[in-house]
Amino acid sequence: MSALYQAAAVAQTGEALIRWDWVMRHDERIRALFLDHVELTAIPVLLGLAIAFPLSLSAVRWPRLYAPLLAGTGLLFTIPSLALFVLLLPFTGLSRTTAIIPLTLYTLLVLTRNIVEGFRGVSDDVSEAAEAMGYTRPRRLVNVELPLALPVIIAGVRIATVTTVGLVTVTAVIGQGGLGRLFLEGLRFRDTTPLLVGVAGCIVLAVLADLALLAAERHMTPWTRRARS
């Protein structure tokens, strides 16, 4: 109970929660950390896509690969991020790479799953018609199946992105972290302001990224709009 009283006490002295003067003094830094966070989110997702695509397409082509692929990427996902970052330290030191590799690996599960499900979701009739019209396999994949798989694939990218935004904060422990550095600062000085700024920043980034991807998807798939008729 005492903890709750303490929380209430802190909340009552309103200014103790967020000191806006602190925010304004550090706004440059906050902005820089935000951008750093964006980079640390974007790179793993893009790398993840680059790795997941060939793996997923193989699983579409040879279905027996799917279960092991899910199991493997799933197992990676199970390992707590802090542990994975640390385990990589002896190999890549306190560098950006140590952050990026595990972050990328964590995206693989959802990206693989959604890319495979996306392609599997393309109606057989459509694939068959495309083949019968004389599309070569690669052209068919890119021109017919990929656009139709896009909604599911992008849904996966959205999940991967939002998840990565949260995971990036843990990399503060190994010297990276983006907005996560504010968490360590808040911890060190027992100061809620940097913490709240960091949390708010993460949420804002996650929401913005999600909406941006959603908008991109809508833009790329005009046929899914059921507006006119």
């Binding site: 903890a3 279960a67 996902f77 707590p80 542990a83 843990v170 968490f183 913490l195």
Partner: protein, 236 residues
């Protein structure tokens, strides 16, 4: 490769297996945090999820709680909780439970919802009451997804509990936190290894449980359900 030798030495050092900072103590601590938090989360989320799925109401909440959970930075919120509520177990448990809820809630809801309405219809037609339909029909059929949700939640909690060490809790995360503080690399590495093993172990144990409990006919759905369920966790 030298670090492997150092890490091995750490494990061979008997001091690291005794006392309140020894491996057994820390593992038990970690399991204590994880277990209690998971059970509380189950107690809160499972009834809500099952009921929501059965009646069809509150679906928006059940689905979106996972989306919201995913967007919240676990690390930051744990530290925030501790700072606002002081040291001690309560803030930590609040944070652990909060993050453990979404996978259970979302997956049990989704699992019940996914039961073929025709089957439900047939059950009611035979004269089963709502309660009976839930217990004897919906839950068994939704079991792969429900268990997948619980499994994901448990693994998630293990990860979150690791981070909680930064906020002052015990458990295996302490090795990592303390190790960084005194630059004792073998300790850091050992901690990470133990955490990773524990998480994988929990995953596999639940896997076994799932295989035993879920009926043969639903086996195929289990694999898919597991992958899907992982997506509802916040990842830590």
């Amino acid at each position: 490769m030298e670090f492997l030798v150092d890490a091995a030495a750490w494990f061979r050092d008997p001091h690291n297996w005794q006392g309140s900072n020894g491996v057994p103590a820390r593992v038990l601590e970690h399991l204590y945090y994880s277990g209690v938090a998971t059970l509380i989360a189950l107690g809160l989320a499972l009834p809500v999820g099952l009921f929501s799925g059965h009646t069809g109401r509150g679906g928006a909440l059940a689905i979106n709680v996972a989306n919201i959970g995913r967007a919240l930075p676990t690390f930051g919120l744990i530290i925030l909780a501790v700072i606002m509520m002081g040291l001690g177990d309560l803030p930590i448990f609040i944070a652990l439970v909060a993050f453990a809820i979404p996978p259970v809630l979302t997956n049990s809801y989704a699992g019940i919802r996914a039961v073929d309405p025709d089957i439900r219809d047939a059950a009611e037609g035979v004269g089963m009451t709502g309660w009976q339909v839930l217990w004897h029909l919906e839950v068994p059929v939704a079991l792969p997804l429900i268990l997948a949700g619980i499994r994901t939640s448990a693994v998630q909690v293990v990860a979150t509990a690791t981070l909680a060490a930064y906020a002052g809790s015990g458990g295996l995360g302490r090795y990592i936190v303390n190790g960084f503080a005194v630059r004792d690399f073998p300790q850091i590495f050992a901690g990470a290894l133990l955490v990773a093993l524990l998480a994988v172990l929990i995953e596999l144990v639940f896997g076994r449980l799932q295989a035993l409990v879920v009926s043969e006919g639903l086996a195929a759905r289990t694999a898919q359900a597991n992958a899907d369920a992982k997506m509802t966790s916040a990842a830590a």
